[in-house]
Symmetry: C2
Subunit: 559 residues, 2 copies
């Protein structure tokens, strides 16, 4: 038996486009004499369709398009695909895998374990499936599961999130081959987790595992694909490339295939480096643009590291001719910042325009300050950032560039960013990268280019917003090395100040940082979507109240 | 037996403040010789605490403060309160009601039905309770339930969301009195729903019902309180005022109490008029300010209806001396708009400042347009709104006013609003009011004042953004009466274009409106929190993808 893994990049809600793509893959796999083609979870609607699932007519159309357009094309090959499912068009909605033979839906298998944490809201939409049963494919008993269904092995995980274990149930029924269709978003370290878990599962049950994951960027979420096949001995016998579509073939005789291709990989190879982050961001940005109908981007070049890294990724994503950098010095910008920005633009081959914000700044000061003299307070600092935002949006509105917001996770966390200023934009490329990771990524970019595409002077300057004379970030923040650690514990590890202080960080510093994070919640809730790279990004996975007071000596905000 | 209903307004996360408030209520109820005092759902943490619940230390502190501070005060009276609960500080989290006697936790009752739709994410945080059992209170068998637990009666609801029915289980065990602790957010029509359902429940089981609801604004959600007691005959025997704290007393002999107070109300009295919307917005705005440490607000006065209504509510909420209206005419503003804005400001007794945006506008045009001439395109329209946003934020940053965003739901829906312009602000007061409801509210305000506080000229002018000469909203939108209906079906009733067209609306118009709504999703995701008034507000209850394509002839966005 010969199995095709269809690692596709669907667009959420685009039933027509997704079905057409699936039919194309079906034809190609049939031409290659595959017996079965497997698509990812919710492949017809794209994942996550979110509240589109609440529209009954959307569900009816999904059923209808499968029946009228896909089924007539699904002959001569078996098909597994993912779709929302409703028995006879009414009753509860289920997240399902359809098994088709000769254009007929032979069986429908429902997701039993519904993730409802972090970015996932599946219990908002779906009822859990009840029954688990095998698929008979050319005499081979296939355990068909959907994403989360395989993530509850009691030998592998210390803590079990769910009481049921569909893989176990199916293997006890005699399952010989585990097929899992997924829409599993990427975060740094996720591939390694998957490889270890799937390898352990295949060894435990002595069954091959075929893991088919969606690829593509959908708003903040980036799906890496990285579909894989494991032999019953837990070896990876084939693997699709990450961050791109692929149609990959596997024999069900995993051992011989692995020997043929020599593709057995050890799990040690799966430590993801900055190359993974880079590729993820490039896909996330590219898809956000393409799926929203944009092909060119504009951003402000401050001469700092964040906008430099965003510009480099953008140039690689849409081409230098489609990237516009605006250099917008204010009265407080240093000469070297302007030069560094120009140098960077030249290195990247992108367009730049120099637009000094002095005249609008003066017009505001004349209008709003008594006797027209600057006071150099927060209002004026923010005003400079907002004038830059205005100019970017003006050029965007007039010429059709999508504006990219450059802020990193550390800045967004402590509110070291201007709402309606540098937070302007359609998408925030580095919003989930702590500042130290931005440096690592910059170094990676230069290493890959074998030249200092990002000038050393940008890499080594003292971080500053340059909104008043001699300002640096560290005037009001701890060094970024330490800040990023405190933020990691507070945001990703759910530790409160007392716990973080107990690890040895200075108590005043911890309290100050956490107070800043809490106070900046209102800004983050007005931020553009940020591409997710860690296991806890601001965005749909981070749901904090704005009006709140977490009391005790520990965190006492908003007095 | 004499029961005290403690309709309190907790602040999310403020364990200290909430416990202190609860102790104060306990003392007052004990002084009045009450046998039992009942607090709302999650009264110790405030509702919804959202991701604060993911911090183990937050849960530990909640338990700790109940034990060390509340329990020692809870003698001489029985207490029912709401809190997150974890057995022995580990294991799954539950949404629970604690029953205390003489300072001791006698029993803990867990919420069985966890809402996970609309604005609710309870399955993100909690495991459902399993067992339902009665409380013995002075020989009376009390069925203690939490919010959603009572909302699944199979005789009352056509469609049952859950398979279990805790009220039925408890009444079958012999429950004589149903106590429900809630944190049920308000939307227009909600009180009527509650009255009918609770009245039907008390009649069905021949049991009195005591319904204790949280009051207060927490970000977008407004809790009305409206705690009530029903006799076993389904009559309302006492009711707390909506939108305010109250400590209300009920005898368990409902009939006699109702005769004493003459308070029996028929369910016909519960049609909520604009007075309810007004009171809800006033509470929502007031609490958003207070809980975030603000006491004064600024907004732009355009001379239009939206900013006029927001100003009127703000003046009533924080007093005229704490409301600043900026009148910011552009080259395209009409003379009558400026006059209307000044007239309104005078009527309301608030401060106003006149700041023409001409000089910054010219500075931008000189800087950005070839030969400095305006083109009167979208870029320049938005620029005017953004200059106004800059000025508001500047004055906010310098002087400490919170900026109010005036946009209504219809505008936000179709994107007839400028991101980073009139969308600037800490909170959007009318964000969930369709335009026609804004008119109704304006008329209500004038009726209540017995004078045209909002000038007739504002009420009757043709809606216009005045960003270019002779512009009106209806140049690119259907009349608001029709627009609001189409939006209602698309946003609140989950109908797609084909279904709305089938109701008799012009197909081109429907397609155009829905296309606009879909395209404006990126704007709404960067909007400030909007106070929720309908059963489907933009915000946490509306989770749509930005990058999407809902295909078919029907809705074909983002080409």
């Amino acid at each position: 038996m010969y199995i095709a893994i269809a690692q596709i990049n669907p667009t959420v809600g685009d039933l027509q486009g997704n079905i057409r793509k699936m039919i194309d893959y079906i034809r190609r796999a049939r031409d290659e004499k595959a017996d079965l083609i497997v698509f990812p979870e919710m492949s017809v609607t794209g994942y996550p369709p979110r509240d589109l699932l609440l529209y009954p007519e959307f569900i009816r159309r999904t059923h209808n398009i499968i029946e009228t357009e896909l089924q007539p094309e699904a002959y001569g090959i078996s098909v597994i695909l993912g779709a929302p499912w409703q028995e006879e068009g009414k009753g509860p909605l289920l997240n399902s895998a359809l098994f088709l033979q000769e254009g007929r839906v032979v069986s429908v298998h429902h997701k039993v374990l519904l993730p409802n944490y972090d970015v996932f809201d599946e219990k908002r939409y779906f009822m859990p499936g009840n029954q688990c049963f095998l698929v008979d494919l050319h005499g081979k008993k296939v355990a068909l599961t959907i994403c989360e269904d395989i993530w509850n092995d009691k030998d592998y995980f210390e803590r079990n999130r769910y009481s049921r274990n569909p893989v176990e149930e199916l293997c006890q029924q005699g399952g010989e081959l585990i097929v899992n269709i997924s829409a599993s978003p990427y975060h740094l370290g996720k591939l390694e987790e998957r490889v270890h878990m799937l390898s352990s599962l295949s060894r435990k049950y002595g069954a091959g595992v075929i893991y088919v994951n969606q690829v593509g960027g959908n708003d903040e979420l980036i799906f890496d694909g990285s579909s894989m096949a494991f032999s019953p001995q837990g070896e990876i016998v084939n693997r699709a490339r990450p961050f791109g579509e692929e149609l990959l073939y596997i024999g069900d005789d995993f051992v011989s295939l692995s020997h043929q291709t020599g593709k057995v990989e050890t799990t040690e190879e799966f430590e993801e480096d900055m190359g993974w982050v880079y590729a993820a961001l490039k896909l996330g940005l590219g898809d956000y643009l393409a799926k929203n109908g944009f092909h060119k981007v504009a951003l402000g070049l401050s001469g700092g590291i964040d906008s430099a890294v965003v510009a480099a990724i953008a140039v690689d994503t849409v081409g230098p001719e489609n990237v516009l950098g605006l250099i917008m010095p204010s009265p407080y910008s240093s000469q070297h910042s302007k030069k560094d920005a120009e140098h960077l633009g030249k290195n990247l081959g992108m367009q730049t325009r120099l637009i000094s914000i002095e005249t609008p700044f003066e017009a505001y000061i004349n209008l709003l300050n008594e006797n027209g003299e600057p006071l150099m307070d927060l209002a004026e600092e923010n005003l400079q950032a907002r004038i830059r935002g205005n100019i970017l949006m003006y050029i965007s509105n007039r010429e059709g560039w999508m504006v990219l917001s450059p802020g990193n996770k550390s800045e967004l966390a402590v509110g070291y960013t201007t709402l309606y200023g540098d937070m302007c934009g359609g998408v925030a490329v580095l919003a989930d990268l702590p500042k130290m990771m931005v440096y690592s990524l910059a170094n990676y970019i230069n290493r890959q280019a074998c030249t200092d595409i990002i000038p050393q002077s940008i890499l080594h300057k003292v971080p500053s917003a340059e909104l008043r004379p001699n300002q640096t970030d560290q005037d009001s923040l701890p060094p970024y090395e330490i800040l990023d650690e405190i933020l990691y514990y507070y945001i990703e590890k759910n530790k409160l100040a007392s716990e973080i202080t107990a690890m040895g960080y200075n108590a005043d510093m911890v309290h100050d940082v956490i107070r800043k994070v809490d106070r900046a919640e209102y800004k983050r809730q007005q931020a553009p979507p940020g591409l997710r790279i860690t296991c806890r990004a601001f965005g749909t996975g981070h749901r904090k109240p704005i009006s709140k007071k977490v009391s005790g000596l520990d965190i006492d905000t908003k007095k």
